[in-house]
Symmetry: C2
Subunit: 104 residues, 2 copies
């Protein structure tokens, strides 16, 4: 039985976020995402077919919606309904922000 | 947009584990589980219809399989296939063990 640790192999990469697929089936995808200060481009909005449950496991972030935003710290989670437009407005530049995202 | 923290409202309950449903749809269930030293009964094995992706977010635990066992610490995750028999052999008695389990 293979056990891995979500905090292993965290790259400090200022040039790009890392998206690591942990589970990928017809009904569900689980991704580890590592941000190092990256944010969505100014005019970019995620507009996803799937619902997304996301939990922040280290670092800090701000997710922006069309009429609101939420600050996230370690342990914070939220559920983003499909087609609820959102973008990453901020991630911590000084320590990696580790996300676990479940798309369903 | 409602944000909650997985480490809020952690009960120290030596009498029973807490199972808190976070997402419950046809295809997927996401549960927060809090253990305080509880373990599966001696002759009990989980034998689930669903696959289970589980990550330990605080505390310590041992999951036992029929021919092996794994020790889990903060950040460790594993995928347990459906009908792979398993039981919780140990959870830390001195601090809460917080699990995020995704059944799919």
């Amino acid at each position: 039985m293979q056990v891995k640790n979500i905090f292993d192999d965290i790259k400090i990469d200022k040039s790009a976020e890392q998206f690591i697929s942990l589970i990928d089936t017809k009904n569900i995808k689980i991704e580890k995402i590592v941000s190092n200060g990256q944010k969505s481009k100014e005019d970019f909005w995620y507009d996803q077919e799937e619902n997304e449950f996301v939990i922040l496991l280290s670092g800090d972030a701000i997710i922006e919606f069309e009429n609101s935003e939420v600050q996230l710290k370690k342990g914070d989670y939220l559920n983003i309904d499909s087609h609820r437009k959102h973008r990453v407005k901020y991630t911590n530049e000084n320590e990696p922000t580790v996300w676990l995202a479940i798309f369903y």
